[in-house]
């Protein structure tokens, strides 16, 4: 809680502040939820998010009533903000899965402080991402035609189309992430049930905890399940954005049609995902006084991952341009020339600044350990990554093969309303999570305490 004294004394090797006791960890994390006192921070954020969410509903209603013509999409730019937003949100989600699954398998125990809310962020981001493929359809009420189901028409989806792969990739991702997140939360739900004073909360947590009693057998099954789910999630970190990138690479549009999109997209996804983790973690830990649990070391580790993935993205930019030149293909060359000097040049150079320029500051430890700077640079990266997708999608479509059909996309107010609205949806979902569920994994953080380390060591 904010009014609790903050003592952040920690040794080099410690992940969390050394003042914590087992009980203290539980008290603090559970206390965020189990209190009648809702901090003004939460109310403010939720209200802002809710306002944006209403805007989202308004623009979606308008969309359903009038059609996708309310957006700026046109011939030849048939995909605009909707697909850009989709790829951006899906990418953001990747950090959560990476933290919870890959870092679990790699035994990176520092992740324990941030994996829960990072995973929640994944779910919220996937929920936002999922809106756009539906909204962007000309006839969204027929979305189920993309799903193979037995029907009297005798038609199946076209399994050659990357959009069908998307359907599978995204739904799989959503289901596995949800299961992993929920399974990981079961012991904490038991804790919440046990500590709840309110009868309704007791029942709700009780049902969600699925009878968790913390017996050795429970723990054994639980750990196996978590490992299995982590194993299932791990390939998803790579596959989902690979398949999303197929939406572009399978097509023949100059600027889309290239083989290195999968690693490029995955790196970009993790890059933007970690940026979002930082954007969420920095204010929340300050507002809830969790600096002892989500320490500067966590922020620094996230920043290091951003640096690594960001450099991959930078490499991709360079190689993409090099390959366009090296291919000798007039269309590719022209596409990249237009990208750098054409009508969207401003966006391009701005995204290069956001994604590569600002990244260079992360080389400095001083920068990595200054939360406010990290927060700002993460927002810059999020904007840059959105622009990157916009550039790839809109910039490539606007000027492709036949110059007579070239045309520029101009976003309408509804485009912006839908984008900002989806951010509202994200904020609302995320802050509901913060208010109702333990945002940090209680039992996993407890394993980080010195008291727990003995057992860890003996097991190892």
């Amino acid at each position: 809680m904010a009014d609790e004294p903050q003592v952040i004394e920690m040794a080099e090797t410690d992940i969390i502040a050394s003042v914590y006791t087992l009980g203290g960890v539980t008290d603090q994390i559970a206390g965020v939820v189990q209190t009648k006192h809702t901090p003004i921070f939460w109310i403010g954020c939720f209200f802002a998010g809710f306002t944006l969410l209403m805007m989202f509903f308004a623009s979606a209603t308008m969309l359903m009533v009038k059609g996708v013509g309310i957006w700026g999409i046109r011939m030849p730019v048939m995909w605009g903000f909707a697909i850009t937003n989709f790829v951006w949100w899906i990418g953001i989600g990747h950090a959560g899965t990476l933290i919870s699954a890959i870092l679990l398998l790699l035994n990176q125990s520092w992740r324990n402080s941030i994996n829960r809310f990072a995973e929640a962020m994944t779910l919220c981001a996937v929920a936002c991402a999922g809106q756009f493929p539906l909204l962007h359809m000309g006839r969204p009420w027929l979305f189920y035609w993309m799903i193979p189901y037995p029907n009297s028409m005798g038609v199946e989806p076209n399994f050659r189309s990357p959009l069908v792969w998307d359907v599978f990739a995204v739904t799989t991702y959503l289901i596995v992430s949800l299961l992993f997140w929920y399974t990981g939360m079961i012991p904490d739900l038991g804790t919440m049930r046990d500590r709840a004073k309110n009868t309704i909360a007791k029942y709700v947590y009780g049902i969600l905890a699925m009878g968790w009693r913390g017996s050795a057998r429970h723990w054994s099954i639980y750990e196996t399940a978590c490992l299995l789910l982590a194993g299932m999630s791990t390939p998803l970190v790579l596959s989902v954005h690979t398949i999303v990138s197929f939406d572009f690479t399978i097509a023949i549009v100059p600027g889309w049609h290239s083989t290195f999109f999968p690693p490029y997209f995955v790196a970009g996804a993790i890059y933007s995902g970690f940026a979002m983790v930082l954007v969420l973690a920095i204010p929340i830990r300050a507002a809830y006084g969790l600096k002892g649990l989500i320490t500067d070391r966590h922020l620094e580790n996230c920043a290091k991952i951003m640096l690594a993935t960001g450099l991959i993205v930078a490499y991709a930019y360079v190689m993409e341009t090099f390959m366009a030149w090296y291919s000798g293909n007039a269309f590719e060359q022209q596409a990249f020339w237009n990208r750098m000097t054409g009508p969207y040049a401003t966006s391009y150079w701005f995204l290069v600044f956001c994604n590569i320029g600002s990244l260079q500051l992360l080389w400095f430890k001083k920068f990595r350990t200054t939360p406010i700077l990290l927060f700002i640079s993460s927002i810059v990266v999020l904007v840059g990554m959105w622009l990157e997708r916009f550039m790839i999608i809109v910039g490539s479509l606007a000027q492709d093969f036949v110059p007579s059909s070239w045309g520029l996309f101009h976003a309408t107010r509804w485009d912006w309303a839908t984008l900002l609205g989806s951010i509202g949806l994200f904020i609302v979902l995320f802050f509901l999570f913060v208010r109702a569920l333990p945002m940090i994994s209680i039992f996993e953080v407890r394993t980080l305490l010195p008291q727990a380390r003995v057992r860890e060591d003996t097991r190892a």
Partner: protein
């Protein structure tokens, strides 16, 4: 009328009725009904046998009547009580008429007139509704092709904004009310011999209208007949008089012309014989196999036109410089004695070479003067053609085809004089819109109101109707009988396909009200006239033949030999030093002509040739002129989103604010204004679109004059254009061309540098097309970019009109587009036109990416689009390299307006919101032909299926057929060395291929 002395005193009768009430009223009514004059009038109004089944024995006649009546009853079922419907017309559909098979269209020959001159058409009728206009292959002006104007006329028929009632000062009245008023007014005229009667018509060539007016003149010898068409052939008429001392009709035979010089004549796309000329012209440019002869075209013109885009050498000259050019050329040819050099070297630079080329083709060359050039240019052209021995060979002269050839400006001025004198008692404005389009200094709008009884017959309640007391709805040409002459005098009987939707009547019927003949049907009027004209035996057979064919046999006027009078030329005017003054040009709009088509959505949305501008006109000028005026705005991709600068144009003290359009290839120092825009009462589509150049146009300068001032002014304007990027990128090999000489040396010259993957370069075995394999070939040498195919496609395939705002946002729906590219200097670039329908790729990128299989490949190689299945992800469009797919961003199709439903082709789905659509190669026509052929147990014959674009194309640039049949025209074209696939290196294997364009430049002239 049985007794011409007793006039039906309707006014008195009405007064009697009005004064009566109750029992007295009924008594009066009975009295009235019994009165002989009333019966008399009744007889004229509703002649018992005027239309009906009097000629039921004549099966074709009866059937035709039936069709149009039935069409009307179907049509009117949805329209409610728009017109009085005599019960005798209605026939139950239960009795199927002979030869009418529901679902199968029928075709009727008729004719549409523009500026009075007929162009023969064949109208397609579905269960009594005309839905599509095709050219009439037997008609000399059409030869089977149909221009955009003709194609779009069918939309005009169903236009819900057409005037639907007769009105007097805005209040609804009946035709008989009007008739009563008119007869009342005429009653006072018989003493004056009709001195107060003025009839103002458009130009007319109709023999029966001429006959009617002759009859009226017999009764009212002092009545005056005036004519006005704002975009008529005023200069050609005056030039003829100046050259030959009498009005003549001139037409050309391009089939015999090897060298053609156009003096600002857009003869390929404008004018009553343009379709014929285009056909003949392109036939002389078709290089196939060993037939490598090509004609050569020189064009001197200010504003790039469709004709200019086909020129082997195009010389951008101000319109007023053309005269100097014509003098120099005539002098070089020995036909005149003018200066051989001048201040403006541009004018003279090619004269010698062109003259030598012309001379070496004695009798096989042609000089064409543009309708918008001054009379002296026409005289010079006549003189040059005479000197070149072309008269009688490539140039034919006949007596005028117009019923009343007159100086129309003088006739308007005559009318104005009488209006001012207050001697105009009855003014009948039959068609036309003089209040809007008469020369501005005449002030027709205000002056018209000086006539005592003003009557306007028109399809729309327009600017002129607004100042007339009576407005009468005019019947559309598909609704009424009539006749008209074509460019060479050939008469077409214009037959209706449907009863007037809104009770409209024709000019003939209104004129009939002025005569003492009983009111009869338009059929009787026309047929009555021709009964008198026909000399031979068996009128009925002759008549039926003429109506059926759409051409009256041997009715073309005999050609005559005229010689240019000595002294006709006079001496060349000294070129006026012009300083900084600009030239103003008034030209009919390529899409809405003189404004008459302003309410036609298909034409408004038709991208105009060269500019690709829709829904607007503009102050069109060259880049250099724009730079001088400080209004240069580099054309870029953002044209639709960023405003174009405005200029204030001042000419003769009158001003007009207009947005600037920069046109490479436009003559420097000139501003072109297209007429017809700026309508204030056109209807929902046309009102308020564009700017009105009629406000600057005076009778002294109908077409061009020096003395325009232009100044940049505040504000910007958003244009809606369908193409923003015009520069030809030769690295893409999208448009390929070669010079004839190059091609003869190396047949692959056009393809130099382009990559084509070898056949079979694929991982998967190709699909074997066993039956038909449909394909298309487009000859770029022939295409001039007129846009007729675009309108034809829109009509055939129920393509929605989206409006200016949506076009501006890049959402026009036309399945077929004609791309225009430039290369070379902005002063005089080469112009290229390329029609782009769906390529129907064998390995179609769109099919692969559709998630729901809404676009799939047929066994005949068509890339089918299944509207029902489409969920609208638009991925197919992104992946289409040719960008030929169109998406319904909104609910563009009009599902509400009843009359527009009648215009739809029943064989084509009307697409709803959220669905992708695209060219299908007119799959409905393919299916119909296949069904026919299967019934007859044969294969579809080559040429049996004409896609809509192909059928309409004046130059026969588009050929469609079965490429599995090695003898089909399309297969032969695809074997030509000029054949290429657009973006061949993508290996999409398009079924639509192009023949590279060939030019035949004069080796003497450096390009």
């Amino acid at each position: 009328m049985s007794d011409s002395n007793t006039k039906p005193d309707v006014a008195a009768a009405r007064a009697r009725l009005e004064g009566a009430s109750g029992r007295e009223y009924w008594h009066s009514l009975e009295d009235l009904a019994a009165a002989p004059e009333f019966r008399d009038m009744l007889e004229r109004e509703f002649p018992r046998q005027a239309i009906g089944w009097s000629d039921d024995e004549d099966s074709s006649q009866g059937r035709r009547n039936f069709l149009k009546l039935m069409g009307a009853s179907l049509a009117l079922a949805g329209l409610g009580a728009c017109t009085k419907q005599p019960t005798e017309y209605i026939m139950p559909y239960a009795q199927q008429p002979e030869n009418l098979i529901p679902g199968r269209p029928m075709f009727f020959a008729t004719a549409m007139t523009i500026d009075g001159v007929a162009q023969g058409v064949v109208a397609e009728s579905h269960e009594g509704r005309p839905t599509k206009i095709e050219g009439n292959p037997q008609h000399p002006a059409s030869l089977g092709a149909a221009s955009g104007f003709l194609q779009a006329s069918v939309l005009q028929l169903y236009d819900p904004d057409r005037s639907q009632t007769t009105t007097f000062e805005g209040k609804t009245r009946s035709w008989s009310d009007f008739y009563g008023t008119l007869r009342g007014a005429l009653g006072q005229q018989s003493v004056k011999h009709g001195a107060g009667i003025h009839i103002l018509t458009e130009t007319t060539t109709s023999p029966s209208v001429a006959d009617q007016i002759r009859q009226i003149k017999v009764k009212y010898p002092a009545a005056k007949w005036h004519s006005w068409d704002p975009a008529g052939a005023h200069s050609a008429r005056a030039g003829g008089v100046q050259a030959f001392g009498q009005p003549v009709n001139t037409y050309y035979d391009l089939a015999g012309a090897s060298v053609i010089v156009s003096l600002d004549a857009d003869f390929l796309s404008l004018g009553p014989a343009a379709l014929r000329y285009a056909r003949q012209f392109s036939a002389q440019r078709r290089v196939r196999g060993t037939d490598t002869a090509m004609n050569r075209l020189y064009v001197a013109e200010p504003m790039p036109t469709a004709t200019g885009s086909k020129a082997d050498h195009r010389l951008p000259l101000r319109a007023t410089d053309i005269q100097e050019f014509a003098w120099a050329l005539a002098t070089a040819l020995g036909a005149a004695n003018g200066p051989q050099s001048g201040v403006n070297a541009e004018v003279f630079k090619w004269v010698g070479a062109i003259a030598r080329d012309l001379k070496s083709h004695h009798g096989a060359s042609l000089v064409i003067a543009g309708d918008h050039q001054s009379p002296i240019v026409h005289v010079l052209a006549h003189a040059m053609n005479a000197a070149l021995g072309n008269a009688g060979k490539t140039v034919s002269y006949t007596d005028p085809i117009e019923a009343n050839p007159m100086d129309q400006v003088a006739s308007l001025e005559d009318l104005v004089k009488d209006l001012d004198a207050g001697t105009v008692d009855v003014l009948l404005v039959l068609g036309g819109n003089p209040a809007f389009n008469a020369p501005v200094e005449i002030g027709m709008r205000d002056r018209l109101q000086k006539a005592k009884l003003r009557v306007h017959l028109s399809q729309y309640r327009d600017e002129t109707s607004n100042v007339c007391q009576w407005h009468l709805p005019e019947a559309h040409y598909l609704e009424t009988w009539g006749d008209a002459r074509a460019f060479d005098g050939t008469v077409t009987i214009q037959q209706p396909l449907i009863e007037p939707l809104y009770g409209g009547r024709s000019v003939l019927q209104v004129l009939n009200m002025l005569t003492d003949q009983p009111l009869t049907s338009p059929l009787d009027l026309v047929k009555g006239y021709w009964t008198g004209q026909h000399k031979g035996e068996d009128f009925e057979t002759w008549w039926r033949r003429a109506v059926h064919d759409g051409v009256v046999p041997n009715s073309a006027l005999p050609t005559k030999n005229f010689t240019v009078r000595s002294g006709a030329l006079g001496t060349p005017a000294v070129p006026i030093p012009r300083g900084d003054a600009l030239e103003v040009l008034f030209r009919p709009d390529p899409a809405i002509y003189d404004g008459r088509f302003a309410n036609n959505g298909w034409l408004q949305e038709l991208p105009k040739p060269i500019t690709k501008l829709t829904w607007d006109n503009a102050a069109i000028m060259s880049p250099a002129t724009a730079t001088r005026l400080g209004v240069m705005r580099q054309a870029d991709l953002n044209y639709g989103a960023e405003g174009s600068p405005m200029v204030r144009l001042t000419y003769q003290g009158r001003t007009l604010r207009a947005p600037v359009w920069i046109q490479p290839g436009h003559a420097d120092g000139a501003v072109t204004l297209h007429l017809g825009y700026g309508r204030t009462m056109a209807g929902r589509v046309g009102t308020g679109m564009g700017f009105n150049p009629y406000g600057l146009r005076t009778s002294n300068a109908l077409w061009q004059d020096i003395g325009l001032e232009a100044k940049k002014t505040s504000g910007t304007y958003l244009f809606a254009t369908t193409q923003n990027q015009h520069l030809l990128d030769t690295r893409r090999h999208i448009y390929r061309e070669a010079d004839l000489a190059e091609y003869l040396k190396n047949p692959a010259a056009a393809h130099a540098g382009a990559e084509t993957p070898p056949p079979g370069l694929t991982l998967y075995p190709g699909y074997k097309y066993e039956g038909y394999a449909w394909g298309m070939a487009i000859d770029l040498s022939a295409c001039m970019g007129c846009g007729a195919c675009v309108v034809a496609c829109q009509a055939e395939n129920n393509i929605a009109v989206v409006g200016k705002d949506q076009v501006r946002r890049g959402r026009s729906m036309q399945w077929l587009r004609v791309d225009t590219y430039y290369s070379g200097s902005p002063q005089n670039p080469r112009l290229y036109n390329q029609p782009v329908p769906c390529m129907q790729c064998e390995d179609a990128p769109c099919e692969l990416v559709c998630p729901v299989q809404a676009t799939t490949h047929s066994a005949e190689g068509l890339n089918d689009m299944v509207y029902n299945r489409c969920v609208g992800t638009r991925y197919c469009s992104n992946n289409c390299p040719y960008k030929v797919r169109r998406f319904n961003f909104y609910l563009y199709s009009d599902f509400e307006t009843p009359s527009l439903k009648l215009a739809r082709n029943p064989d084509v789905t009307v697409r709803s919101r959220g669905v992708m659509e695209k060219c299908t190669y007119c799959v409905q026509k393919i299916s119909a032909a296949k069904i026919d052929s299967e019934k007859e147990n044969r294969k579809v014959r080559d040429g049996e299926i004409l896609t809509a674009c192909q059928a309409s194309c004046p130059t026969q640039a588009i050929v469609f057929g079965d490429i599995n049949d090695p003898n089909s025209r399309v297969a032969k074209m695809k074997r030509e060395r000029l054949n290429y696939s657009m973006l061949a290196d993508l290996n999409t294997k398009p079924r639509t291929t192009y023949l590279a364009s060939l030019l035949n430049p004069n080796p003497e002239i450096e390009a």
